[in-house]
Amino acid sequence: MAKKPSMGRQKIKIAKIEVKNHLQVTFSKRRTGLFKKASELCTLCGVEIAIIVFSPAGKVFSFGHPNVDSIVAQFLSRNPPPNSATHQLIEAHRSATLRDLNSQFTQVQNELEGEKKRGETLDNMRKIASERKYWWEKPIDELGLNELEQLRDSMEELKKNTKNQTNKLFVEGNVNPSPFFVPNGSGMVDSVETKPYQIHDSSTNPHVHNFGYGRGFF
């Protein structure tokens, strides 16, 4: 699906937003961004933060590291922060957990970046291919009745051949022994054949081929 062109970064006036809808959206987005920045500051510099934000509707959102309540208590009471051995142990454990989570997050981000790049490469391939102007590669809306019927026949034929080939492989015992549900994380590969396949869950891929053996693949 093509990305809808957004308005991009626009310079806005720092004054209360007039339109209620915009205000709501802005609040939601900026609050998330604010917490993200606070989170990064804590990770990068090892400081303790609490941010409290009241929504236009009167609800309250808060972010805190190590947690909102301890920071608020510390601030209001002006007591020095606790520094017992127990406290240090708790903090050390918390830091270790956070380190793991952060590296996990970074890993997923990197994979995402890789897949995005792959998507762009594939888009370019399709762009180049469609410039060769085979009529059957055009969007369906641009085809005439005659062409559509031809295309339909060809596709039906291909579908038949695909089914036959699948059955052939199945019978030959060539069902790929590696697990179906391995997530694809390896990024770029050169050919279709060697690519590890991705997770299909039933919500995204409801179609099940019935090859007459009484079982679908998912």
Binding site: E40, V47, T162, H200
Partner: protein
């Protein structure tokens, strides 16, 4: 200001860490300020750091105290409902990023199989595909067929409601190449001259196409009007399949 990607981990270099802290703290306070002004809401931020004996506060100590008192006066459940700490916040980010990754993989897979489908449509063999590829290919074909059937139905409906008889069934080869195929002014008129197509075909098309372009009047063994043909379809598949599916 550099735009290098910063690793999400504690900065071990003391001076770098202090410099980062100063910059990011300033930016954070600015963001809190903007949020408060743009949305007309109350907000406060408190930062304890090893660099200052007193916490950095926005808007100021008095304002923050007022807001925190207000916060503490709210029912316990209201306070904690939207409360989050580093751990929870990061876990949420991981979940979101994982969802995006899954979606991107799915989109990429569909794009990839679309290429395969078009290649197979013009003669590439299916032997190299593994089970999962065939499965996905079959699914994609079914999706496309659904759309094709829908469009055929709607065109047929609009045809039957038109007084003018459609002239789509007999088109000469050159017209097909120019892609005027079908009825109605709604279709895009592809005006690419035949010669350009032929040049493209020389470079990249399968042999049957090259032969066809060189002999536009030869019907290649089929009766009736010829059109630019796909390898399958119209009951002529037997003729093609020996070439493409040994």
């Amino acid at each position: 200001m550099t735009r290098k990607k910063v690793k999400l981990a504690f900065i071990t270099n003391d001076s770098a860490r202090k410099a980062t802290f100063k910059k990011r703290k300033k930016g954070l306070m600015k963001k809190v300020n903007e949020l408060s002004t743009l949305c007309g809401i109350d907000a406060c931020a408190i930062i304890y750091s090893p660099y200052e004996s007193q916490p950095d506060v926005w808007p100021d100590t008095g304002g923050a105290q007022r807001m925190l008192t207000q916060f503490k006066r709210m029912p316990e459940m209201e306070q904690s409902k939207k409360m989050v700490n580093q751990e929870g916040f990061t876990r949420r980010r991981i979940v979101k990023a994982t969802e995006q990754l899954k979606k991107q993989c799915k989109d990429n897979r569909e794009k990839e199989m679309t290429e395969v489908m078009y290649q197979c449509l013009t003669g590439r063999g299916l032997q190299n595909l593994v089970m999962a590829d065939l499965h996905d290919l079959g699914w994609l074909i079914d999706q496309k067929l659904k759309d094709i059937h829908k469009k055929i139905e709607s065109l047929k409906k609009s045809n039957s409601s038109q007084a003018v008889a459609p002239g789509g069934s007999s088109k000469s080869a050159s017209e097909m190449v120019k892609n005027e195929g079908g009825q109605g002014p709604t279709l895009e008129q592809e005006q690419k001259p035949v010669m350009d197509l032929a040049v493209d075909a020389m470079q990249s098309g399968p042999q049957w196409f090259i032969d066809w372009v060189n002999n536009p009047n030869e019907h290649m063994g089929f009766g009736g009007d010829d059109q630019m043909m796909l390898p399958f379809g119209d009951g002529h598949s037997a003729m093609w399949s020996s070439t493409f599916f040994p």
